[in-house]
Symmetry: C2
Subunit: 427 residues, 2 copies
């Protein structure tokens, strides 16, 4: 919390945006006005809304999932710690400005002298803030390069859990779509606003960082607020029914935010989180030839309502013991909903923020399409790696996905007034 908490901004107070369950629900409710009843990815009624950049936690995690994404991972191209810190300071200022609907720089895209390059690229002139959030993360290689070099004097503060993710079955990783020293997640209701944010942060970083990979997502596949309707992924199924919602403050505290006592080497990460990014390529052409009943058996839910195959409606708890045909339960042993359910994973839950993508075509005459998986967890060792291993080994869905991008980042806590993002790490 900071000094300007109570200043209303475009009708939404910062307290309402940064605070806990009820306040966040209020914002989510505002965004939900005008949506169709089910899973529409149409823009919200209030594209002029903005979220505060500064606060206890970074925005873009429990913020109601916006419809569009531009995500970028960066390699740091300098070994100069001061230059890196300077970039984080510049990024902080630019990100705060852009989330308020302002230009990236203090001069602006067209207001400066004609003999210097503008400090904003201009394609967002006239566009409202669009609910933009900008979320920064630090990759393992920022702390120690692959060959063990401590470029920035950070190795002794590297979080225990911040390591390159292990190889999972069915991983077929493209290094050009994986890893990264830094990442930025830009989410907005207007894709031009999200692209403008990433593009200008990359521009500011010229000479210090280079874009390693970047991913657009055209439609959200998660809800992070109970007021949002559940969207559909490119399997055609509702996605995110079981996702942690911002209103579940106890679970958010337990499963999303890193606690000060979690890692003695990384107290700077308290109030932050870990971000897992995985590019799941779906073989949608093969999927589309599977019978409806098989598709539902793979997922364990109705394609229509999203209800578990054991009955009820979307949010009914699945009955994993209900008997079905052939001495098997109604929800099959290899059904996705069973394998990833907290009951079978030590109670672990994730806050997912994935997006549908189509990136042109593949060499097989189909679309290069899938789900760009993003999840925020308190600890990947307990909340992601075991679940992903089980899923990769046993999940019926795995026949229809290939993972070709993967990365893990530590997401520092929110930025207080006068601070820059990740300041506690460099202090």
């Amino acid at each position: 919390m900071n000094a300007t908490d109570d200043i209303p901004r475009r009708g939404i107070s910062r307290r309402g945006l940064i605070g806990g369950g009820a306040a966040v629900a209020g914002v989510a409710g505002a965004f939900a006005v005008g949506r169709s009843s089910e899973g529409s990815t149409a823009e919200p009624a209030t594209p002029t809304a903005s979220y505060a950049f500064r606060g206890e936690h970074q925005a873009g995690i429990v913020t109601p999932a916006q419809d569009r994404l531009h995500f970028a991972a960066f390699d740091v191209t300098t070994d100069d710690r001061d230059q890196l810190v300077d970039l984080l300071k510049q990024w902080t200022e630019a990100a705060e400005r852009m989330t308020q609907g302002k230009p990236a720089g203090t001069v602006g895209p067209v207001e400066g002298a004609s003999n210097v390059p503008p400090d904003d690229t201009g394609e967002a002139i006239g566009l409202p803030p669009g609910g933009l959030t900008i979320t920064f993360g630090f990759g393992p290689t920022l702390f120690r390069t692959e060959d063990g070099t401590d470029r920035f004097g950070l190795t002794d503060r590297q979080p225990e859990a911040l390591r390159t993710l292990p190889h999972f079955p069915a991983d077929n990783l493209d290094p050009a779509r994986s890893y990264g020293d830094l990442c930025i997640q830009a989410c907005a209701e207007d894709p031009q606003v999200a692209v403008h944010a990433i593009r200008n942060l990359a521009r500011i970083g010229f000479g210090t960082v280079a874009v390693r990979w970047s991913q657009l997502g055209f439609g959200r596949t998660s809800t992070t607020s109970t007021s949002q309707s559940t969207p559909r992924n490119l399997f055609g199924f509702k996605d995110g029914t079981m996702n942690i919602k911002a209103e579940e403050t106890k679970d958010v505290g337990e499963h999303v935010w890193v606690d000060a006592g979690d890692d003695a080497k990384a107290e700077w990460l308290a109030g932050g989180s870990y971000l897992i990014a995985r590019r799941f390529n779906m073989t949608i052409e093969v999927w589309d030839r599977q019978p409806l009943g098989d598709q539902e058996a793979f997922i364990g839910r109705s394609k229509d309502t999203g209800a578990p195959l054991s009955g009820g409606s979307e949010f009914t708890k699945p009955d994993f013991d209900m008997p079905g045909a052939d001495d098997l339960p109604v929800i099959a042993p290899d059904a996705h909903v069973r394998l990833v359910h907290p009951d079978f994973n030590g109670g672990a839950r994730m806050l997912r923020r994935g997006y549908n993508f189509v990136d042109g075509s593949n060499s097989l005459g189909g679309l290069d399409a899938g789900l760009f998986f993003l999840a925020f967890v308190r600890n990947p060792d307990t909340h992601f790696i075991p679940i992903q291993n089980k899923m990769a080994k046993h999940d019926a869905l795995m026949e229809y996905v290939k993972v070709n991008g993967s990365a893990l980042f530590a997401v520092p806590p929110g930025v207080g007034e006068g601070e820059y993002v990740g300041q506690a790490l460099f202090a």
Copy 2:
């Protein structure tokens, strides 16, 4: 015009959508409600609006440019003419259904038997029509393959102007992003609706066609109605100020629609058009380091207002003779606005429908970003090739773009009741 012209649909009559200037303006006005004053790509106030699929001309040309695009080019993988015709019939039915917000097939994504694959993929369940238009085109290789084979008995009906586009200076074409026997342009206000359309048409075509390439566009760069505000491209400039608008019915007739007398070999194309698709990769990182004054000199317009450098406001006619410094005109000889202006191109105008894109990153540490150029013209030989040649040779902008995708298609006229798209070609 057809029998159901006067049936209102979701509050918008088909006559209003298919007809001439004033009626189209009414629709555009409806879409414009709720937009911010300048260039917002936020969704319109009426995502439930739908456009008629059948009519005198195909929809998606003079239709007010929607915000999102999915475009796909296909190779036909059969030599069987009947199979090709059958696909066009199936595509026609599916396209008409989807533009009405219905599933691609008659059964639906979740309504069928559990032991057969659904005839719709499901990711658009619950989504409104989203202003979806689906526009079909035929490439030169449909009429005659590269090696001269007349696979479908169409060679003697190949339009004179439907040839592989010539090599232009600065073209660096990737065959995997160029050419195609068939194309489909899907435009909508919701990208999930556009993607759903292309994906289902590709699914229906399995065994007859394969996706050759596909391109998403996240933000429109054109206005095709006087009621739309001018959006910005990734150079940060307003784009499409001079574009032909639907309300300019005389110019639409003169520059967009093929006339029955235009080509004796291709009377089937009367009421249709030619579609040029070009993928302009922008070197945005280099562009962003150019001084504001240089950027404006390259374009010939103010980056702020879009007014020509000779003065006035956005829609003021440029004064190309107005003297500037150093014995040069204010609007430089190599300024984009001068080189492409109808006054210097025999009066030729295009109807452009381009989109901004970002497709991940390039190998140079930057974004793979640019403008996916789409233009509809009456004749590429008079309305595109000379202008593109001049631009490629002389335009100051060319230093900041590389063209790596290119294709030309003949766009058959609208589809009457009981007909399938392109029927006159096969009759």
